[in-house]
Amino acid sequence: MKISRRGFIKLTGAGALGLGLLPVKNVLAGDHSNVTSDGKRWAMVVDSRKCGECNDCIVACHKTHNVPEIDNKEEEIKWLWKEKYEHAFPSQKHDFVDEDLKKRPFMMLCNHCDNPACVRVCPTQATFKRKSDGIVMMDYHRCIGCRYCMAGCPYGARSFNFNDPRPFIEEINKTYPTRTKGVVEKCNFCAERLAKGSLPACVEACPNNALIFGDLNDPDSEVRKVLREHYTIQRKPDLGTRPSVYYIV
């Protein structure tokens, strides 16, 4: 086959264009079923059967991360809190849920989704999924406070600093930053503690071992063991966000 220089350049150009379109194809027709982080993927199993009356985990979390105590419900900041079954799993509720389940508290926190909508919508990458372990993190210094992530999150996991939070913090933990007014924040799976090799503050604080934490990508991890042995559910799994928080009911 004889090929002219002109023809050769044309073909090369077309080929280069095709390569350029490859990422587009991956986005439009890619296989999203195995979106995962490169290495670890931290996850939590909440054993709601063991969860009692105390608030130890919430206190530990909020103290560690300088989360302000704001009484006004509309402006409150929360990283970890309790919801009733019917509110935690609105599409699973029915008229004859047993009394125990009705009363039982369910711990709510950021789901650290494998396919997080908040990260998709953030215009500055101030919220991002960490490649190394799948934690959905916040850069408080980059956030412009547009609150698009709050509209995007289907779990109501995010809080916005409507006020300057500092006057509302009883005792400041100097090893973790405080925030300023006008930025969004949420649970960070205690990334700062994991870096030092400790467990998240809530997991450590729970007197009943109701919170189990570990690496989903490690088949021998504690979470994988618990997941193998129990029936677990996730919040709104039909939305395709692939949450990393599981619940034993």
Binding site: R120, V121, C122, C143, G145, R147, F160, V183, L239
Partner: protein, 385 residues
């Protein structure tokens, strides 16, 4: 040409000063918000967007509607619109500026605004909204100003302007499509998660925008020596009529899907907005006002007798504008957040500072519009003299 804005009647100057006072009040309120944080607004952890984003959405529509005079004039040679295309384009400039300001006043950290450019993120729809809105603003400034200058000098506008006009037509559609995408692609916001959102946005935009243009044309006709022309207004009225009917039709479609399927999560927001949910009914009067005004407008617009009479047309146009603003500029955004992710209801009502800031942005829009229309009318009066 800008010098035309510096000479005017006593009435012109009183209006300008009145607007400047409102801008001052709005700016003062904004400084208060900047100091205290968004806590001074009615927004909350559950309803995290409110009046600002609603107004932003609505005015994107007003801006996009300029295409309803530009397209017939440039693509279909509808000569009557030649007299008012520049009014459409100048309206777009004022409206887009308002949109950008509504976004800025909504930000928790406005000083970090340029992070959107520094850390450009194409997978965020907000990034694209910034591109299309600023592009549209630039297009309309270039086109409107150059066409008007050419008219003043009694020459044909430069060739490149016409090319920009052709770009501006699909661009107008894009600004409202992208704005719809901002909210229609979010998992878990059932009220917004509807593929008809962009079409609905465009339909209500092409109703409310040209309705405002008719109102403005009638004002120009009353207070200046320039007459935008009977036929232009009649043609615009026809556009408003069709767009209003299509808008109402689209709203009915949303009701059908939600209530015939009977899926609770799809019905909740509509129930909250139009009937109240779990005893919460702040929005109900406003949504019914929308419905009633939309029907009044439709009746007045369908009937040729009332559509072609100036007084009744004016009433119809005000009804269209107000009803679409209630639906899109308020109910649509708030409805998306109620009920919240836990199927609980937290209500929203704007506070006084929030209303004053909104009023301030409106005044800035009216100010820009006044200056630009003053220039345009003066040039047109001068050309016709």
């Amino acid at each position: 040409m800008l010098e035309k804005a510096f000479s005017g009647s006593k009435r012109y100057w009183s209006w300008v000063i009145f607007l400047l006072v409102l801008i001052g009040i709005g700016f003062g309120s904004y400084l208060y918000q900047l100091n205290k944080g968004l806590a001074v607004t009615g927004m909350s952890r559950d309803v995290s967007w409110g009046l600002y984003i609603g107004q932003f959405t609505f005015f994107v529509g007003v801006a996009a509607s300029a295409v309803m005079v530009v397209l017939p004039y440039y693509l279909h040679n509808v000569k009557e619109f030649g007299r008012i295309t520049v009014f459409g384009e100048f309206l777009a400039i004022a409206a887009v500026t308002m949109c950008l300001l509504f976004i800025i006043v909504d930000l928790g950290k406005p000083m970090r605004l340029f992070n959107v450019l520094i850390y450009a993120t194409p997978h965020s729809i907000m990034f694209w909204d910034m591109i299309v809105l600023n592009g549209y603003l630039l297009l309309n400034i270039l086109i409107g100003w150059n066409v008007l200058e050419a008219e003043r000098n009694a020459v044909a506008p430069p060739k490149w302007v016409k090319k920009l006009v052709y770009v501006s037509i699909p661009w107008a559609v894009s600004i409202h499509t992208v704005t719809a995408f901002l909210i229609s692609g979010l998992p878990g916001r059932h009220y917004w998660l509807t593929s008809i959102m962009a079409a609905r946005f465009l339909a209500s935009a092409f109703a409310a925008g040209p309705a405002l243009l008719i109102i403005l044309s009638l004002i120009v006709k009353k207070f200046t020596k320039f007459n935008p022309g009977e036929t232009a207004i009649k043609k615009l009225a026809l556009i408003v009529s069709y767009a209003t009917i299509i808008s109402i039709f689209f709203v009915i479609l949303e009701f059908f899907t939600a209530f015939y399927s009977n899926i609770p999560s799809h019905m909740h927001s509509l129930e909250y907005l139009f009937a109240g949910l779990e005893g919460h009914s702040n929005m109900v009067p406003f949504m019914w006002m929308f419905a009633v005004l939309a029907v009044i407008a439709m009746v007045l617009l369908i009937n040729p007798g009332t559509r072609n009479k100036e007084n009744t047309l004016l009433i119809a146009c005000i009804a269209v504008f107000v009803s679409m603003m209630l639906e899109k500029g308020l109910g649509l955004i708030i409805g998306g957040f109620i009920p919240n992710a836990f199927e609980k209801v937290t209500e929203y009502a704007p506070t006084l500072p929030e209303l004053l800031i909104t009023l301030g942005v409106w005044a800035i829009g009216a100010f820009i519009l006044t200056i630009l229309y003053k220039v345009a009318v003066s040039v047109k009066e001068e050309v016709r003299a």
